[in-house]
Structures are given as structure tokens and as C-alpha cells.
């Protein structure tokens, strides 16, 4: 048994953790598609999908089977390599961001000291999925959707990074574990309320969820950038959106709501409850808000959110200097 060293055990344990987080994120994203439809149904006073299995829980399996066996058609006028690449970027970039999220004190994939910057980098790369997918489809509606998406994402990424810098300043670190530990006494939602508000808005915009789904507005653009996609490629865009929802919810919990901290219950349960709450909030937003006009979305980002984050950062710095010095 000389090959069974503590190093090997640590490596295997790390791989096991990574695998569980990966599968958990994907399965949760997939399950959310059904949960969302059921919840939308309940809130709109109808049943939603309730035929397959008890309470419609088998709908997920039915949907997966259908999407696996659908014809995966690539239009002849499409740019083949980029058309194939785009859904991979959409799915992988958001999934990779899960490595920085600390779930419990002993559970988490990577403990990078640039943690938060890694998420911002992956969010930056995620833009290309929409852009390249829309362009490679060779369809004018897809291209219009992609152009809208790129302009919107650029506008919202600017203040997404800035909204998080208040948290970084308070915790004194980009490392997610340090940020969670710094919230032991007081969750950052209280000193950083404006940071939370702007990050939540930016997070919704980055995942292209309602009310920021201009890139895929059904009425004007007939589904936008993924109009030519079918089968599993569409599935990757689709599940990628829900994985993004899970990611943004988990990030909000980690950055502003104390991560695993909470009384009585074990850390993993606290993390799950808080993340679930924000996932429900995402779905409730979709159920209740109409889609604003595109130019209003852009001017709201630049003229309200960006100045707000800058003032927030300035005030945070001033208060920290006053209190600390």
C-alpha cells in the first residue's frame, strides 16, 4: 500500500469534489427548466407541465430524451466551425466559473486568490457565445440579436465589476473564501446594499434573463441568436442559461449573504437555502416584469447603474478610511 499516499488521497478528494460540483450545477440547471415552468404555471393560475410522473417531476427526463434525439441540423449557409463552437463557449465558460465558489468550509473546487476576477474573466468570454453564434448562423435576426447582446453585455459588465469592488475592499481580498469569512459577523448586504442591487441587475443582464432578454426577444427577433440552433446545440444554450442563473445566485449568496454562515442548520443547507431563494427570485422576476425597450435598458445601465456603483465605491473607500484610519 505504498502508493496510497496522503497526496494521492488529497488529489482524489479534490477531483471528487470537482465532479460533484460539476454534476450538481448541470443537473440543477436542467431541473430548473421544469421547476420554472411549474412555478410560472402556479403563479399564473394554471397547472404547468404535470402529466409525466408524480407532479410532473418526470418532465425533466422526457425533455432530456427529446432534446437528445432531435435532429441536430446545421444550416448550409452557416459558418460551420464557429456555429459548433458557440454553444460550447456558452456552456463551458459559465460552468468553469463554479470552481471559485466555496460551498462549505471544507467543500469547494479551487481556492484561487484571484477568485472573483476569474468569474469576471469567464463572464467576459461568455459574450462570444452569443456574438459568434448569432453571426455564424447567417441569419439576420440572429445577427441583430447578437449585436444587441454584445452592446448590452458590454454596458452591464462595466459596472458589474465595479459593483463587486466594494465587497473586495471590505474583505481585503479577491479570494472567495476570505470574502465569506469576512462576513462572519455582518453580511455584506448591509454595508454594500447598492453594490448588491447593481450586481443583481448586472447578473440578470449577463444571464440574458427577463427583463434583460432583449437579445432573444421573441416578438421582434424570433428568438435572436439561437434561432438556427436545434437539438443538443440548442440544449447547451438553453441549459447554459439556467447554469448561469445558478452561478449568479450562488455568487450573490457568497458575496453578499454570508455564504454558508447561518445559525442551527449545517453550512451546506444554509448555502442551498439561500441559493434556492435567489433562483426563485429570478423566476419570479420573469413572471412579473414586462420587457423594457432596448434603448431604455442601455441608458439605465450607463446613466443610473454606472454612476451608482462609482459613488458606492467612493463612499465605501471614504468610510473605510474614516473608520480604519
Amino acid at each position: 500500500m505504498n502508493w496510497w499516499t496522503p497526496e494521492l488521497a488529497a488529489i482524489l478528494w479534490g477531483m471528487f469534489q470537482a465532479l460533484v460540483v460539476l454534476l450538481g450545477a448541470v443537473l440543477l440547471g436542467a431541473a430548473l427548466t421544469v421547476v420554472e415552468r411549474r412555478l410560472l404555471g402556479l403563479w399564473q393560475d394554471r397547472y404547468g407541465p404535470n402529466r409525466v410522473g408524480p407532479f410532473g417531476t418526470g418532465q425533466l427526463i422526457a425533455d432530456m430524451l427529446k432534446i437528445f434525439f432531435k435532429e441536430d441540423w446545421i444550416p448550409p449557409f452557416a459558418d460551420r466551425p464557429l456555429f459548433v463552437l458557440a454553444p460550447i463557449i456558452a456552456f463551458a465558460s459559465l460552468l468553469l466559473s463554479f470552481v471559485i465558489i466555496p460551498i462549505t468550509p471544507g467543500w469547494g473546487v479551487a481556492d484561487m486568490h484571484i477568485g472573483l476576477l476569474f468569474f469576471l474573466a469567464m463572464a467576459g468570454i461568455n459574450v462570444y457565445a452569443v456574438l459568434l453564434g448569432g453571426w455564424a448562423s447567417g441569419n439576420k435576426y440572429a445577427l441583430l440579436g447578437a449585436l444587441r447582446a454584445s452592446a448590452q453585455t458590454l454596458s452591464y459588465e462595466v459596472f458589474m465589476g465595479l459593483s463587486l469592488m466594494g465587497v473586495v475592499a471590505l474583505a481585503g481580498s479577491f479570494n472567495m473564501r476570505d470574502i465569506v469569512n469576512a462576513q462572519e459577523g455582518l453580511w455584506f448586504i448591509i454595508p454594500q446594499f447598492f453594490g448588491f442591487a447593481t450586481f443583481f441587475i448586472a447578473g440578470v443582464a449577463v444571464t440574458h434573463r427577463h427583463p434583460f432578454d432583449q437579445p432573444e426577444a421573441e416578438q421582434e427577433l424570433a428568438d435572436g441568436y439561437h434561432i438556427e440552433y436545434s437539438g443538443m446545440k440548442f440544449g447547451m444554450f438553453f441549459i447554459g442559461e439556467y447554469v448561469g442563473m445558478v452561478l449568479v445566485s450562488a455568487l450573490i449568496v457568497t458575496l453578499f449573504f454570508g455564504g454558508w454562515h447561518g445559525p442551527w442548520l449545517p453550512p451546506i443547507l444554509w448555502f442551498a437555502i439561500k441559493t434556492g431563494f435567489f433562483l426563485m427570485l429570478f423566476i419570479l422576476l420573469r413572471a412579473s416584469l414586462p420587457r423594457p425597450r432596448y434603448d431604455r435598458v442601455m441608458s439605465f445601465g450607463w446613466k443610473v447603474c454606472l454612476p451608482l456603483t462609482l459613488i458606492n465605491l467612493l463612499a465605501t473607500g471614504a468610510v473605510m478610511l474614516l473608520v480604519g484610519g
Binding site: L82, H113, I114, F118, A123, G124
Partner: protein, 179 residues
Amino acid sequence: MEIAFYLSGLVAVLATVGVITGTSPVHAVVYLIVSLIAVAMVFFALGAPFAGALEIIVYAGAIMVLFVFVVMMLNLRPDAERELTWTHPRHWLGPSLLALVLLGALLALLRQGGVSEVIDGELLTARAVGLTLFGPWLMVVELAAILLLAALVTASHVGRRSNPLNRKMTGNRKRGGTP
């Protein structure tokens, strides 16, 4: 860490070759993005993850999006013929000569020594970068900030939407004051 450095360096060089030799503008831009990510990986391998992350966020995530945006708006098609005239040896002569001078300078520097240091995986944290920037290099940071502010003011001046009332008045004047 050395193997990661050489691998990502190789990817960066190959992707940059792809940028130059590709005929489709969008594919060239995608190669450029890959090249930038590979350079970020080089930073990671050298033990400067902060610089690597910023490279991806700023260059690959923001600036290149604008490039892709513009290339997509122009909707250029691959044009092998025109590309061939651009890559005529005559056009390569000047840049090649200049690059040769640089290569000579690099070789001379390498011969002088100082290459014995290998990659040791020492981690350069964001805190260290910040302390250096706002310590000895504070003046440069402030100058860059002023430059960016000037650029911002200029951009907002050039891109401003003129007051519709104002435009109507100047339009009337141009037409020679018709009633």
C-alpha cells in the same frame, strides 16, 4: 510550471499566425482572442495570475468584443484574392527588416546573461501589484487616469446627440432663412 509556459506560448504563436494567414475576418478575430487567452496563460504560468486575469477581462472580454462587433457590422466575406495581394512579399519587407533588428537586439541581450533565472512559480498577488502601482508608480497611474479622462470627455463630445431644437434652427439658417 515551465511546461505550461511553453505550451501556452506555442499556442499564442500559432494563433497569431492564424490571425495573419486566415482569409475570413471573423475567424482571424477569433484567433486573436485565442492568442490573448494564451498570453494570459503565459502570465499565469509565470506566477502573475492578477495580470493574467486582467488580460482576459480587459483585452479578451472587452476590447475584442468591440472588434468582433465592428467586423460583424461590416459583414466582410472571406476575400482570398485581395488577401493575396496584401501578403505580397513586397509588403513583408519593411516589417521583416524591423523585426530582424529587434531579434538582433534580443539575441545580444540574451548573450549578455541574466537568463539563468528559471520560472520558479513565485506568486505575485493583487495586493503586491496594487502596492507597487500606488507606491513608486503613483505618478504614472495618475497620468494614465488624466489621459483616460481626456479621452472620455472627447468621446462624449464627439458622440453627443445635438439638441433637436438647436439642429432645426441651424437647418433653417442653412437654407437661407426661409419663412
